[in-house]
């Protein structure tokens, strides 16, 4: 071994570094990575002006009332959206779940029609959740106009896709003996779901739903930036006026909101799970 190189793997490490640097170059070009722009006098001044406004945060009574309303709107958009998403996700789950198929039980194979419906439901779920919620919101704002309706619908569409997929996975991976026994003895699919599949998977389903509620709150803030109501829309307006004090209040509210959603959802998971 070369005494100047105590590291026996140095060849591999050097090669890997060189390859990484060669790959890095086109990426830096394509994403216009120019950190020195940050130190440009003009941009430094604009940033400084904006940040100097952060302290003290805006705290006049009417502004705080406005914020309270906007925060409630954000929570309400997330909650209403998730409630609608459940309405869409549950029937789609029933269609997509394989272990609730009767024809699958009888012969080990599903009927062609069953397969077709199940695949169609799965593709619908994939389509719903693969379009990002922000894009749904952007499109819906153009159909239903600015305001919370677009946000609620966007959350309902995206999250019914996510919930439907994960619910189906949970139901298929949990214990299926009970529901199989019920189906084989002639129970209906709905009864097999309620008395066989659901009790076995309930706590997992509940904890995933509360986790998604937490995500929906974050999502509903973000969707405000395309005009779907709530605290995000207010933040967008304040940013356009470069009102640092208002933005700093909103950021504080936002961090607190996310932290408390986190707390509430872990409490719910413990309580219901």
């Amino acid at each position: 071994m070369n005494p100047r190189h105590p590291d026996p793997a140095w060849r591999g490490r050097v090669t890997a570094t060189v390859i990484a640097l060669v790959l890095l170059w086109p990426m830096l070009v394509s994403s216009e990575f120019k950190p020195w722009l940050l130190l440009d006098a003009q941009s430094l001044e604009a940033t400084w002006h904006f940040l100097a406004g952060f302290f003290p945060p805006a705290h006049s009574r009417e502004f705080l009332t406005l914020m309270l309303e906007a925060t409630w709107q954000t929570i309400a958009i997330a909650t209403a959206g998730l409630a609608l998403a459940l309405l869409g996700a549950i029937p789609l789950t029933l269609l997509a779940t394989q272990s609730l198929s009767i024809s699958h039980l009888e012969s080990g194979r599903m009927r062609i029609a069953g397969v077709a419906v199940r695949q169609a439901a799965r593709w619908l779920l994939v389509l719903l959740r693969s379009v990002p919620e922000l894009v749904w919101a952007l499109l819906l704002v153009r159909i239903v106009g600015l305001g919370p309706t677009a946000g609620v619908l966007a959350i309902a569409l995206t999250y019914s896709g996510m919930l439907g997929k994960v619910y189906a996975e949970i139901l298929e991976s949990s214990e299926t003996h009970a529901s199989e026994a019920l189906l084989q003895n002639g129970s209906s699919r709905l009864a097999a779901l309620f008395y066989g599949a659901l009790p076995a998977a309930a706590s997992e389903l509940v904890s995933y739903t509360t986790y998604r509620w937490e995500c929906a709150i974050r999502g509903s803030v973000v969707m405000g930036f395309v005009g779907a109501g709530g605290i995000g829309q207010r933040m967008d307006e304040s940013m356009k006026m470069l009102a640092g004090a208002e933005v700093s209040t909103m950021l504080i509210i936002f961090v607190l909101l996310v932290a408390s959603a986190d707390l509430v959802s872990s409490f719910l998971r413990k309580r219901l799970g």
Binding site: S30, A46, A76, A83, L138, I143
Partner: protein, 263 residues
């Protein structure tokens, strides 16, 4: 003989909780002033249909497709660079956040990481637009800032949960603190570091696709641009490209994960 009382079907506390949730849902719908009426009239249906028909057929001219490919490359580069920067800074911050430099440093750094983490990429992008200007650079920084919060916290947890035997053996035998960290602690947690980072990268590709909606580069910026000019056919192609990218990333990561975990 007294028959035992059957347990209640539902605990009173749980029942109260469920009723509370129901009340929250009702209050949400009641206060939101949703315009269902406008959504479900014949007039609204016609205008939505017209809006949707505007999307067909998606623009498929070769120069436009090339621009979409460039946009997709930009999105991928933003996500890769953002994740890379976050990996380096996150690892550096994970050392104090795991309590190796004292309890007060741990508390301060953890708080900072929590703040970075709880503000989403898009909000960071809007704020960073002021310093970095319109374009993919602001988006890259936004991804880096948010991901630093996420990865820093995960890395710190990994360092804290590490069994200390290897590192202390090196220290006892006279290795420096840095040497012990690089040759004992880091190799031990590196599989975890890799899997967390890849997972975040996957998330960041999805996030980078939409960051442009506020002007921070990538496919999202193209989408916003064509939508605001009412060029629906171009917008449709961009949305299809986004969908394809997300589906491909999902598929690749699913396959990879299955290969790596071995089932």
């Amino acid at each position: 003989m007294r028959r035992p009382v059957p347990p209640p079907i539902i605990q009173p506390a749980t029942l109260a909780l469920l009723l509370g949730l129901l009340a929250l849902i009702c209050a949400s719908f009641y206060t939101l002033d949703l315009k269902w009426g406008e959504l479900f009239t014949a007039d609204a249906a016609r205008s939505s249909l017209e809006f949707l028909q505007g999307f067909a057929p998606p623009e498929a001219a070769a120069p436009f497709l090339l621009r979409i490919v460039a946009g997709a490359m930009e999105t991928l580069s933003m996500s890769a660079l953002g994740t890379g920067i976050a990996f380096v800074i996150g690892l550096a911050l994970a050392v104090p956040a795991s309590g190796r430099l004292g309890g007060s440093a741990r508390a301060v750094v953890r708080l900072a990481l929590n703040v970075l983490r709880s503000i989403p990429e898009l909000v960071w992008a809007v704020i960073l637009l002021i310093a970095a200007g319109l374009g993919p650079f602001a988006g890259t920084l936004a991804l880096a800032v948010h991901t630093t919060g996420v990865l820093g916290r995960l890395f710190a947890d990994a360092l804290e949960n590490l069994p200390p035997a290897c590192e202390s053996t090196l220290r006892i035998n006279g290795a420096s603190a840095l040497g012990a960290f690089f040759y004992a602690a880091l190799p031990q947690i590196s599989p975890q570091l890799m899997s967390y980072t890849l997972y975040r990268w996957e998330n960041n590709i999805r996030a980078a696709a939409v960051l442009g909606v506020v002007g921070a580069g990538g496919l999202g910026q193209m989408l916003k641009y064509h939508l605001s000019l009412f060029q629906m056919q171009q917008a449709a192609s961009v949305i299809i490209a986004m969908l394809l990218m997300i589906v491909v990333v999902d598929g690749v990561s699913f396959r990879l994960r299955r290969r790596l975990t071995g089932n």
